[in-house]
C-alpha cells in the first residue's frame, strides 16, 4: 500500500474552490442570463408558486446536507490515520441515541416536506381553475408531428406553433395528441402536462406580464422533435383583440379535412393562423382513436 499524500487537504481545497467559483459566478450568471433562467424567474403566478416550493424544499434539504458535508470533512481530517491527535476506538459500533437521532431527523424533515408537498399538490393541481375574477379563456392544444396546433373554440380561430392571449387572464388548456405522446411545457408560465392520443388532459396557467414565452415539447416524439417549439405571447388586451380580428380575416380555413392535411408529418413549421370552421374539431381528433383503424 502506497502512503497517501494529504488527500483531505486536496479535497477540501478542490471543493472549496468549486463552491467559491459557484458563489462568485452566481450573481454574475443570474445578472447576465436573468431573462433566460425561466424556471427561477417565471412570469406567472403558477410558475412562481412552483418556484417558491422548490426554494423552500431546497432550503430544508440543505439543513441536513450542509452538516453532512461538514462532518465528512471534519471526520476525514480528525480521524485521518496520519493525525496522531484523533482518538481510536475500534469497538465503537453503535449508540442508540445517535441512531435514533438520524432515523429521527430525516423523518421529521421528510414529514415537513411531505406536508408542504401535500398542501401544494392540491393547491397547484393543473386541473384546478385559477382563482381570479376574470373569465378564463379556453385553448385547445393538439400535439402533432412535429408542431403544436392551438384551437380557440370560442374565438373561432386556430394557430400553429404560436398562441397569443391577454395577460392576467387565466388560461384553460385542453390537451391531446394526434401523434406520439408529448408534453406541453411553457417554463416561464409554469408546469407541464402530457399530451397523449385519445386522452384529454388539462392545464391551467396564467401570465402576469407581457412577453414572448418559449413553449417546448418535453417528451421525445420522433425525428422532428427538437424543432417542435412555439411562442406563447402574453399581450395587453388591445393587442390581443387586434391580433384576434386579424386572425379572423385569415384566408386559411381549418376544418377536419384541412386538419388531416395539416397533421401529416412536417418539421420546423412556420407560424400559421387559421379561421376555425369546425367548432368540434378537438373532439373529433380525440374520436379518431375511439374506433379501430381500417
Amino acid at each position: 500500500m502506497q502512503k497517501p499524500i494529504k488527500p483531505v487537504f486536496y479535497m477540501l481545497l478542490f471543493t472549496g474552490l468549486i463552491l467559491l467559483v459557484i458563489f462568485l459566478m452566481q450573481p454574475f450568471a443570474i445578472f447576465k442570463f436573468y431573462g433566460d433562467i425561466d424556471v427561477l424567474f417565471p412570469k406567472g403566478i403558477i410558475g412562481l408558486e412552483e418556484r417558491n416550493l422548490f426554494l423552500i424544499v431546497q432550503a430544508l434539504m440543505l439543513l441536513v446536507i450542509i452538516p453532512v458535508y461538514i462532518l465528512t470533512f471534519v471526520f476525514s481530517w480528525k480521524y485521518n490515520a496520519n493525525n496522531p491527535k484523533g482518538k481510536y476506538d475500534p469497538d465503537l459500533v453503535d449508540n442508540s441515541v445517535a441512531e435514533y437521532l438520524w432515523w429521527g431527523i430525516p423523518l421529521v424533515m421528510t414529514l415537513i416536506i411531505a406536508a408542504l408537498t401535500w398542501f401544494k399538490t392540491y393547491q397547484l393541481d393543473p386541473y384546478k381553475p385559477i382563482d381570479t375574477n376574470k373569465k378564463e379563456m379556453k385553448i385547445q392544444v393538439v400535439a402533432l408531428q412535429w408542431k403544436w396546433l392551438f384551437i380557440y373554440p370560442e374565438e373561432q380561430i386556430a394557430s400553429l406553433n404560436f398562441m397569443q392571449f391577454p395577460k392576467q387572464t387565466p388560461l384553460h388548456f385542453e390537451i391531446t395528441a394526434d401523434a406520439p405522446m408529448n408534453s406541453l411545457w411553457i417554463p416561464e408560465m409554469g408546469g407541464q402536462i402530457y399530451a397523449m392520443p385519445r386522452m384529454r388532459t388539462e392545464l391551467h396557467l396564467i401570465a402576469d406580464e407581457v412577453g414572448d414565452f418559449r413553449g417546448v415539447s418535453a417528451n421525445i416524439s420522433g425525428e422532428g422533435f427538437a424543432g417542435m417549439h412555439f411562442i406563447a405571447r402574453a399581450s395587453t388586451d388591445e393587442d390581443y383583440h387586434q391580433w384576434l380580428s386579424s386572425a379572423k380575416q385569415s384566408s386559411k380555413l381549418l376544418n377536419f379535412e384541412e386538419y388531416e392535411k395539416l397533421a401529416a408529418p412536417s418539421k420546423n413549421n412556420p407560424v400559421e393562423i387559421f379561421q376555425l370552421k369546425d367548432e368540434n374539431l378537438f373532439n373529433q381528433i380525440i374520436k379518431k382513436y375511439m374506433h379501430p383503424k381500417e
Binding site: 446536507i65 475500534p90 392540491y122 411545457w185 402536462i193 388532459t201 425525428e223
Partner: protein
C-alpha cells in the same frame, strides 16, 4: 431467405461507419492476438466453458467494460452534437441518428454496464464472503451470464447491421409502436432486453438461493456482511421486478409482430399502461444498481477506518426498507400524466420516505469514520466523492419527488443531471471503489495507486463540470434529447462547458484503462506480499490466498460473529483448524456458451423476421437444455491430498503467474 435484411442495412452515416470499422478492426486484432499467443485452448478451457463464479464475475466485468466504451462514445457524441448544433449549424449527425445514439447510450449503460457490474460483483464477492465454495446453481449462473453476453453482443451487431431504436431507452409507445417506428430498431431493443432480462432473472434466482442456503456454518442472517445483505435485497428486487419487464416487452412484441393492441391507442389499447408497467420494473431497477454499491461502501469504509461498521442493524433495516419502498414509487416518473392530486400525493410521500433510510446509511458510514483510523487510499477517495455527489443527487431527487416542482423539471436537463449524479456519482464511483478494493484479491497484485488518484481527480472534476451546468440548463427550460436548439435560448455556453467536462471524464477513463494494463505489466512490482490480506480486511474473503484457489475455501470456515476474519486476527475467535477433505466441484460445460450463442441468433432472426433461423435456433436451445439436464456425471472430486498440495503451492510469488 433473409427476411427484412437487405443490403441497405449495411449503409450508415460516416460517424457510424467509423465506429463499425473500429469495432471490426478490434475484433480482428483480438482474434489475431489470441491465435498468435496460441491461447484458444486456454480460452475455451479456462473461461468459455467455466462455471466458476470467480471467472464468470470477471467475464461480466469484461463485457461491462466493452459496453462502457460504446456507451461512453455515445455520450461523447451527444455532448459534441449539443455543443455544435446551435442556430444555423446542424451539428455533425442527423436528428434520427442522434436519437439512436441517446437511446443506445441509455440502454447500454443501464443494462449492459450497470447490470454487468452488479452481477460481476455478486459473482466475485458473494461466495467468498459467505464462506461457500460455489454458488447454488453453477450452470444456471453460467447460462445467466451467457444470456447477458448475447444481449450485449446484439447491441454491437445493431451498430453494424441496420438501425437501433430511436425511441429513447424505455421506448414509450406510441412512438415505439409499429405506426411510428416501423423499422427494425425497436425490435433490436426488445430482443436484446428480453434476452438480457431473462439472464438477469436466472442469475437473481441463483444468488438468492446461494445467499439463503450456502452460507458457512454459524453465519446466521444477522451475521452476514452488509455487502451480502445488499446483494440479497438487490436479488429480491431482481426476482420481483424483471418478470414485469419480460411481460411488458412480450406485450410490446405482440403489438409489433402480431398486430395486437395492448398499447396501441387506436385499437382500444392504452399506451399509459406501458409507461406504468415499464416503471414498475424501472424504479426497482435503479435500486438493483445502487443497493450493491451501498454494500461496497459498507465494506470499504470500515476496512479503511480500521473499525467495525457503525450501526450494523440500522444498516440492514435501511436496506430492507429501501427494498420494500422501491416498489411503491414508480408513478413519480410521470406525475405529469394528469393523474389526480390524490394519486400524485401518495407517490410523492412514498418517494420522500426513501430518503430516510438512505440518509441513515450516509450517517452510519460517516460515524464509522468517527474515532477510527482513516486511510485515504483511492477507494476512500471514491467514497468521499460519493458522499458529496450522492447527497446533492438526493436533494434534487427530493425536489423532483414533489409534484408541483416536478411539473417544472420533468424531462428537463435538471432531471438528467439528477440521475447521472446518482448513477455516476453513486453507482459508478462505488464500483470503482469496489474494483480497486477487491482487485488484489482476484489477481494477487494492486492497481497502481498513483494512476488511480489521477483518474479519480479527472472523474471528479469532469463529472462536476459535465453535470452541474445541466442543472442550470434545466432552470433555463432546456429539455432532454434535443439534437438542435436556437441561439436565442442562451444555452450554448453551458453546453460547451458540459462538453469540456465530458472530455475531462474521458481523460479519467483513459487513465484507468491505461492503469489496468500498466498494473498488469508491472505486476511483480505491485505484488501483494501479505498472503491475501492487503488491507487488513475483516470478512472471510481476506482469509484465503489471492487469487483464491478454484475451491475458494480448503476448509469451510465456521463463524460466530460479524467480521469473522477480523475477530480471528484480534484473537476473539479461534484460528481455522487445518483438516483437509475431498472437495466436490461442478465440471466445466460448454452448454452455457452454446445457449448464449443460439439465443443471439434467435434474437437476431426475430429482429429481421428470418423465421427459419428463429425456429432452428429456438429448437436448438431446447435440445441443448435437454442434453445438459440429462447429464449424469456433473461433478469432479478434488481429493484431500491434492487440496493439501494446492494450498501449500498457493503461497507463491509473482513468478508463478
Amino acid at each position: 431467405m433473409f427476411g427484412r435484411l437487405t443490403l441497405d442495412a449495411f449503409k450508415h452515416e460516416p460517424s457510424q461507419n467509423s465506429a463499425v470499422f473500429m469495432m471490426v478492426l478490434t475484433g480482428i486484432a483480438l482474434i489475431g492476438l489470441i491465435s498468435y499467443l496460441k491461447r484458444w485452448k486456454w480460452l475455451w478451457r479456462e473461461w468459455l466453458t467455466t462455471v466458476d463464479p470467480k471467472r464468470i464475475g470477471l467475464m461480466y466485468i469484461f463485457v461491462a467494460l466493452l459496453n462502457f466504451m460504446k456507451g461512453f462514445s455515445d455520450a461523447l457524441m451527444m455532448r459534441l452534437q449539443q455543443a455544435l448544433s446551435v442556430g444555423d449549424s446542424q451539428g455533425f449527425i442527423s436528428a434520427h441518428h442522434f436519437q439512436e445514439v441517446f437511446s443506445a447510450h441509455g440502454t447500454t449503460m443501464i443494462f449492459f454496464v450497470g447490470m454487468g457490474v452488479v452481477f460481476g460483483l455478486m459473482n466475485l464477492i458473494i461466495p467468498l464472503q459467505i464462506g461457500a465454495r460455489d454458488v447454488a446453481y453453477p450452470f444456471l449462473n453460467a447460462v445467466g451470464f451467457w444470456l447477458f453476453a448475447s444481449g450485449a453482443m446484439l447491441t454491437f451487431i445493431s451498430l453494424a447491421i441496420g438501425k437501433f431504436s430511436a425511441a429513447g431507452w424505455l421506448s414509450y409507445p406510441p412512438l415505439s409502436g409499429l405506426e411510428y417506428s416501423p423499422s427494425e430498431g425497436v425490435d433490436y431493443w426488445i430482443w436484446m432486453l428480453q434476452i438480457a432480462g431473462v439472464g438477469s432473472t436466472l442469475s437473481g434466482i441463483n444468488f438468492l438461493v446461494t445467499i439463503l442456503k450456502m452460507r458457512c456454518p454459524g453465519m446466521t442472517l444477522m451475521k452476514m456482511p452488509i455487502f451480502v445483505w445488499s446483494g440479497l435485497c438487490a436479488m429480491v428486487l431482481v426476482i420481483f421486478a424483471f418478470p414485469i419487464l419480460t411481460a411488458t416487452l412480450y406485450m410490446l412484441t405482440l403489438d409489433r409482430y402480431l398486430d395486437m393492441h395492448f398499447f396501441t391507442a387506436s385499437g382500444g389499447g392504452n399506451p399509459m399502461m406501458y409507461v406504468n408497467l415499464i416503471w414498475a420494473w424501472g424504479h426497482p431497477e435503479v435500486y438493483i444498481l445502487i443497493l450493491p454499491i451501498f454494500g461496497v461502501f459498507s465494506e470499504v469504509v470500515p476496512t479503511f477506518s480500521e473499525k467495525r461498521l457503525f450501526g450494523y442493524v440500522s444498516m440492514i433495516w435501511a436496506l430492507v426498507a429501501i427494498t420494500v419502498l422501491s416498489f411503491l414509487v414508480w408513478l413519480h416518473h410521470f406525475f405529469t400524466m394528469g393523474a389526480s392530486p390524490h394519486v400524485n400525493v401518495v407517490f410523492a410521500f412514498m418517494t420522500m420516505l426513501i430518503a430516510i433510510p438512505t440518509g441513515v446509511k450516509i450517517f452510519n458510514w460517516l460515524f464509522t469514520k468517527f474515532q477510527g483510523r482513516v486511510h485515504f487510499t483511492s477507494p476512500m477517495l471514491w467514497f468521499f466523492a460519493f458522499v458529496l455527489n450522492f447527497t446533492v443527487g438526493g436533494m434534487t431527487g427530493i425536489l423532483l419527488s414533489s409534484p408541483p416542482a416536478d411539473f417544472q423539471f420533468h424531462n428537463s436537463l435538471f432531471l438528467i443531471a439528477h440521475f447521472h449524479g446518482m448513477v455516476i456519482g453513486g453507482m459508478l464511483f462505488g464500483f470503482f471503489a469496489g474494483f480497486t478494493y477487491w482487485f488484489p484479491k482476484f489477481t494477487g497484485f494492486f492497481l497502481d495507486e498513483k494512476l488511480n488518484r489521477y483518474a479519480f481527480w479527472c472523474w471528479m472534476s469532469g463529472f462536476l463540470l459535465a453535470f452541474m451546468p445541466l442543472y442550470m440548463l434545466g432552470f433555463m427550460g432546456a429539455t432532454r434529447r434535443l439534437d438542435h436548439y436556437e441561439a436565442s435560448t442562451g444555452w450554448h455556453p453551458l453546453f460547451v462547458l458540459a462538453g469540456i467536462g465530458a472530455l475531462i471524464i474521458l481523460c479519467g477513463a483513459s487513465i484507468q484503462f491505461f492503469g489496468l494494463f500498466w498494473s498488469i505489466f508491472h505486476r511483480k512490482k505491485l505484488w501483494d506480499h501479505s498472503g491475501g490480506d492487503p488491507w487488513n480486511g475483516r470478512t472471510l474473503e481476506w482469509s484465503i490466498p489471492s487469487p483464491p484457489p478454484i475451491y475458494n475455501f480448503a476448509i469451510v470456515p465456521t463463524v460466530n460473529q460479524i467480521d469473522p476474519f477480523w475477530a480471528i486476527k484480534r484473537g476473539e475467535a479461534p484460528p481455522v483448524e487445518k483438516k483437509y477433505e475431498d472437495i466436490h466441484l461442478p465440471k466445466n460445460t460448454p452448454f452455457g456458451l452454446y445457449i448464449g450463442v443460439l439465443t443471439m441468433f434467435f434474437g437476431f432472426a426475430m429482429t429481421w423476421y428470418i423465421w427459419w433461423l428463429a425456429i432452428i435456433s429456438f429448437v436448438s436451445i431446447i435440445v441443448c437444455l435437454i442434453i445438459r439436464l440429462s447429464e449424469k456425471n456433473e461433478h469432479d472430486i478434488i481429493p484431500a491430498e491434492k487440496v493439501k498440495e494446492m494450498e501449500a503451492e498457493h503461497v507463491r510469488g509473482p513468478e508463478a503467474v
